[in-house]
Amino acid sequence: MEQEEKTIFQKMWNREGARAELRAANALALKQWQVEFSYPLSVLWFIVMPFLWFIPLIIAGMAITGGAESAALEGLVGTSDWITYIALGSAYTGLAISLMWGTGQALRREQNVGTLETLMTTPMKKETLVWGSMLHNLQHGGLGVILQLTASILLFGVTLNWWGIIPALMIVCLSVIGMQGLIFTVVCVVLVAKQGWMIVEFISSTLLLIAPISYPIAVLPTVLQYFSYASPLTWSVEGFRGFLMDGIAYSGAFNAIVALIILDVIFVIVGGLLFKRTERYVRMKGALSQF
């Protein structure tokens, strides 16, 4: 019996490779779902969250335009259907916020409940901790996007080009890679600054401001436009919305895909390096479980 237990333990310990990391990431994602569902209000929040962000934009838009058409927007982006334009932009934002906030704060949450050091000593790659949380937030945010888009179609008359769904999902995949670089940077801030949620709030609010969610980049001040072009969130929103509005005929497809690939490479390399260095630094300082 003892021998058998030892063998299982050794087998577990020796488990490595992409499959083992994937299983670990999946276990982390499932664990987070269980935690969320143990708070009854979380379920309610999960359902209403996408609408609480989207509806104020619709009310404000209605107060400004007085209808469903906007000549000013048509002059800027070629479509007067401002409701569809904003609905698609804000739907993607829900996913981005979920990825940035949820994953960015994942290690902090483990730190608060005293499980971060234990997780760090398990035989999985440190990056898997972040990937596991990212997987959960991708599922969480993805369901939110589906929920918001369905309600937007049913309640606000938003129209989608169904041919654009698969290319839009490809944009989401490219976007997730680039966002990982950003998320790794956010995790570094959280690990070093401890009470770094304020910095995370600042970074995410700035990224959301310069992203073309409810307005095109053209209305931003020139300096901010340059920052906007360098953000993967900008190209993700543009690509996601472009495909869902115009289908495969979306004219900005090439620009969005190429820009995302280039930014993915840059952000993943920089974010990954930063995470490795920060994690080593925090371990050396013995500050992993400090508040």
């Binding site: 979380s42 404000a60 959301l208 969610i213």
Partner: protein
């Protein structure tokens, strides 16, 4: 243990007993409220950047509305907006909305989350076992949050005025202070209610976001109240900030101070303050009893 140390210990025990023997429970302990507020402010001052960031952050939250208005309505305020709101400058309109709304946001996130912070620091149970009325602790938390909130709101107002080049009537200062004072007193009751709910539901990130986002959605911050459906307008008027935003906005932008309208607003705010205090204290007392009975006080 030496003889001297034993004597010292006995003396301390005797003194403590004296304190407890002569202690008479009071309905309100102002000194405890002040001490709790000072403690919170001292912690806040340890992180001065936080206050600055919270004064600056709302700018990043409302700038998207201004950019959206430019994108869908053009660079000038639209005729439709002027028609339904009665104001011809969207930016001037929105800034006042955010200035007042910050107080509501603060009462939700600040007062409400105060006990959660104590819970995380492991000091909630000792705090609740002190012979101090709960109302003093709640008010202490509320005072410190009002001071921080006012600093943040002033930073936001001055920063926004300089960035967007808008100005407001100076005659609005005195009536604004009166309205803000009554509104803040009402918001204390609202904050007590949220604090009670956090004691029961525990997870403040979800509850506070839910309360905060819902009240934001129905408040006339970025749009006039009549842009909302009728039943929602009714719900909006139940929030102390709605009357606050409408009154302060009118006086600050037009500079006109109609005594009758102003008195009505003050009376309505006073009425809401009484209702929220009663509701807030009742909710908090019930929540405290509920969590104590289940031994959940320090739990997560």
């Amino acid at each position: 243990m030496t003889h001297q140390t034993q004597e010292d210990k006995d003396e301390v025990t005797h003194q403590s007993s004296d304190y407890l023997e002569t202690f008479k429970p009071r309905a309100m302990d102002w000194s405890a409220a002040r001490t709790f507020a000072m403690k919170n402010l001292r912690i806040a001052l340890r992180y001065p950047a936080n206050i600055m960031i919270w004064g600056f952050l709302p700018l990043l939250w409302f700038a998207p509305y201004i950019l959206m208005a430019t994108a869908v309505g053009g660079p000038e305020t639209t005729a439709h907006f002027t028609e339904i709101s009665g104001y011809d400058d969207f930016i001037q309109f929105v800034i006042i909305g955010w200035f007042v709304f910050l107080y509501l946001d603060n009462s939700i996130w600040g007062i409400g989350n105060n006990f959660r912070v104590e819970q995380f620091s492991g000091t909630l149970e000792p705090l609740f076992s002190t012979p101090v009325p709960r109302i003093s602790i709640l008010l202490g938390a509320a005072f410190s949050d009002s001071i921080q909130g006012t600093i943040q709101a002033m930073i936001l107002l001055l920063l926004s005025m300089s960035i967007f080049g808008v100005s407001y009537s100076l005659t609005a200062i005195a009536p604004t202070i009166i309205v803000l004072l009554i509104m803040v007193i009402g918001l204390y009751g609202f904050g007590f209610m949220v604090a009670g709910m956090i004691l029961v539901f525990k997870d403040p990130s979800v509850l506070t976001q839910l309360v905060s986002e819902t009240s934001y959605m129905i408040s006339p911050v970025n749009y006039p109240i009549n842009a909302l459906p009728k039943p929602v307008q009714f719900a909006a008027y139940l929030l102390p900030t709605t009357i606050g935003i409408i009154t302060i906005r009118e006086i600050a932008i037009t500079g006109a101070w109609n005594l009758l309208n102003f008195s009505q607003a003050v009376l309505a705010l006073g009425g809401l303050a009484i209702v929220f205090w009663l509701l807030g204290l009742a909710t908090f007392q019930f929540a405290e009893k509920w969590t104590k009975q289940r031994g959940h006080m320090g739990g997560f």
